[in-house]
Symmetry: C2
Subunit: 287 residues, 2 copies
């Protein structure tokens, strides 16, 4: 009784969706039809639809209609290191996604040299110095899935890691490349995870409603070498409605840590593994 009408309408539609009376992919009645059916105004119906969008139940397509979202299979990103494979190394991004029988794709890295801003303070670099940024867009099954930007101190390039400033993939991965070229070994990292409204460019890439109703997850990975100096900052942005993260600590049964229904993609540097195998990785796994 106390509930405003737009929520009454929204909850009624939600029940119909969850009872499969409105199956996944189905089109909802138009706003004008709903207005008549609930004897409300079109604006009130639209408020109800916004409420459903926020909960990820429907999506609107201008000129077409409002549709029940297809059941999204969340993509699981494990933040604490991939399990050993037969080669003893972590798998690449594409291998990990393919293991789930899903089709990954990624643009070639776009490379820029920028002034260090506050946003890359984790690299411990002064404001007048420069950083290399390598930016990549990733999709799964044709759906845009994440935006990723890695920052490296420009000093690494001057010391000889010149391929960092070349566009295009570094097939062995930048972590391995830095170890081969400069002997810099990545021994650990810290991820920080936060939720915020999407920027305009993120809304466009992920095709999210422009009013910020669906938020994004930002994961900032700061990687350290043996001296404890930060060597890389990777910022990954994921739409919150189709992603899920996992963290394993201590002994976790293998069937849980790497379930066949999930996939383990780290916010790796470029397209390769982000962590030096054999280093001080995650705790040993029980067998």
């Amino acid at each position: 009784m106390a509930d405003p009408m737009y929520r009454v309408i929204a909850e009624d539609l939600q029940n119909q969706i969850e009872a499969r009376m409105l199956p996944a992919g189905a089109q909802l009645p138009t706003e004008l039809e709903l207005r008549d059916r609930y004897d409300a105004s079109r604006n009130t119906v639209r408020d109800a639809i916004k409420w459903l969008i926020t909960r990820g139940l429907v999506e609107t397509r201008p000129g077409q209609g409002t549709f029940v979202v297809e059941k999204i299979v969340p993509f699981v990103t494990t933040l604490t290191g991939t399990p050993e494979t037969s080669s003893g190394e972590g798998r690449t991004y594409k291998d990990e996604v393919s293991a789930l029988f899903r089709q990954p794709s990624a643009t070639a890295p776009r490379v820029e040299i920028q002034e260090a801003s506050d946003a890359v303070a984790e690299l411990g670099i002064g404001a007048d110095q420069q950083v290399v940024s390598r930016h990549q867009e990733r999709s799964i099954d044709g759906t845009p899935w994440s935006l990723q930007t890695s920052f490296y101190p420009m000093a690494l390039v001057l010391r000889g890691a010149t391929r960092l400033i070349q566009a295009g993939d570094i097939t062995e991965g930048t972590v391995a490349y830095l170890e081969e070229t400069l002997g810099i070994k990545q021994v650990g990292y810290q991820d920080t995870i936060m939720v915020r409204a999407p920027h305009g460019s993120e809304s466009r890439f992920f095709r999210l409603p422009g009013d910020g109703r669906i938020s994004v997850i930002e994961v900032r990975r700061t990687a350290f070498d043996e001296q404890g100096a930060p060597v890389r900052l990777t910022i990954s942005v994921y739409p919150a409605d189709r992603n899920l993260f996992a963290v394993n600590v201590g002994q976790v049964p293998e069937s849980i840590a790497a379930p066949p229904s999930a996939v383990l993609a780290e916010p790796a540097a470029d397209s390769d593994q982000s962590f030096a195998a054999g280093g001080a990785g995650p705790a040993p796994r029980q067998e």
Copy 2:
């Protein structure tokens, strides 16, 4: 030019806020004043304010006005185990919060016995069996900060852990209690992290706008014993606008892993540490 008017208004107000022309805590002009100032309708002004709410810049208080939010100091929750303290053990929730010079508080656990539902499938328990749930509300400096519910298989109570079904704190923590009483040692856990719109009760406790514009973060921690059997499922819910999570893997400099400006509160069982010290915890830390 292409931007709709409500976003033009919102971005203008955003600039004023970020330039401190509208300092934290200040009241914005009323909707009617803004309507006159921007020569728009009140509804359009209200759309602009909703856009600012979604970005966490302002809040509305019915009957009072719209205010610039005070700078929120995010509370950092570290998911990969607390650093060793002098005693060699993790700290309790209250100790960890106090270490940041902030005032923690928590309600006494509310204990219930429930049928196992789909929501606790991680415990690997059939639908007709029973679980113990222990629910707690936590606040910091008087601000509601998290809701936490731990589930234990009822079998543990039958085997002698009778204090699980008593309301009130288990001061040494349920993890230590289970090890003392039944010899069950927690050796690892998996956290899964997801973002969703808040339920009604969560909106009320966290005082979030009722339309789900601010989302919550749900962390599900499944803890395992030495046999790889799940012994506990803890579901923690945090409002996304004042929380931040950290994950440390491998060697991370101490100043980063445990910065003085952050605090390390795990989604522990009840109010005590969640992880058996000396077990297969996170990798050793560099000095």
